[in-house]
Symmetry: C2
Subunit: 221 residues, 2 copies
């Protein structure tokens, strides 16, 4: 049986879950308290990060490399365009959300509000939370700028870029940190991606001690 | 004329410079003080990061996406294997060095010792420097573990994984922060990659106020 070692509010785990579900690759989800650096887990993945995917006999880490691999071995339905320019744009945006958005928004908001409590590393730092909220406005505006010219973030087809973005945003939506009123096009985009069957498992996630707001799993939010 | 907006001790710029040189794509190098967030620069790249590559009329950011693009439009000489498993391993290690190594070692050592001074953000934080030195030992051991079974980091052919690693290590070598005596195989690997013509421009880099040690540009170090 294929297995994904993950944590519900890890955006990188969510990105891989979305890719797997879209490509109809079934996996058993194993929740991993990766920050406890358990020896078994470190043997599977010396980087000590999640997600880790066991696909058949192959053990894989690094979410971007995993998603590219899934695209190569199971190209249908496609999550990358065929031309080099289109593929560049998808990868540029995956990098944008995995790196820049994650560092500037997700770590500062989710990291402070949820992971500090879950990992037991103290109280939220309000300077970080403020910086995260401010950065969110910039990122939502950048997404709106892209979506005014395109149906999806990297072009007119759904791609890994949309999953990378939705993975981060859905974690922040779980703690009500996304202002959906800021941009109509971004809200429409999220409604569209949220209604895909691949999204269902994310909307059912629960993290003990943190109850999602009622709009979190609501397709008509 | 193609142009690369870069900074000499930026590992991500170096990774792209190595790929361009290996594929014999000529570019004019423009040094960019990206942290000053000059308006012209932000127009070229809203992420405010380097490197930015102008290739013909195309303006590109995100080093991993740029390297994949170069591989697709100029596949020779190859920096990625042809099979999905081999490509996965290259991408996994590119992620390892771009993310994990960069955060745990480069930011903590180069960030504290060089960028604080260059950007004018205060004195080095010795806790970070110590953590960076400690992490370096783990990473050098991990590289040795890989290189005991392989000629290059991701397999028996030179790949983007070697460039991602050498880009980070060469920046740290500029400030004498790599203990080349820790592992014979790692030192041999670095000597091999350092002697490639693609590496020459990196060995000629100079950052004002920081003189590289004499072994930095020496092929027999």
């Amino acid at each position: 049986m294929n297995r994904l070692y993950h944590f519900p509010l890890s955006p990188f785990s969510r990105k891989v879950r979305l890719s797997l579900a879209e490509k109809r690759i079934e996996v058993e989800l194993i929740e991993e308290r990766y920050w406890e650096q358990d020896n078994d887990f470190l043997r599977r993945n010396p980087a000590g990060q999640i997600p880790v995917l066991r696909l058949g006999n192959k053990l894989m880490s690094e979410s971007a490399a995993i998603c590219e691999y899934l695209e190569e071995v199971q190209p249908s339905p496609p999550l990358m365009p065929r031309d080099a320019d289109g593929r560049f744009e998808v990868r540029r945006l995956v990098g944008w959300f995995d790196d820049k958005f994650h560092v500037e928004c997700t770590q500062k908001l989710l990291g402070e509000r949820v992971f500090r409590k879950v990992m037991g590393t103290g109280y939220p730092d309000s300077t970080n939370v403020k910086a995260g909220s401010k950065a969110m406005r910039f990122h939502l505006d950048y997404m709106a700028h892209l979506l005014e010219k395109r149906r999806w973030l990297a072009g007119n087809e759904l791609s890994l870029a949309d999953f990378a973005a939705a993975a981060q945003l859905s974690c922040l939506d779980y703690i009500s940190d996304v202002d959906w009123n800021r941009s109509e096009v971004v809200k429409d985009w999220y409604a569209k991606i949220k209604s895909r069957p691949a999204f269902r498992s994310l909307l059912a996630d629960q993290v003990s001690g943190f109850r999602p707001p009622s709009h979190y799993a609501n397709l008509d939010f």
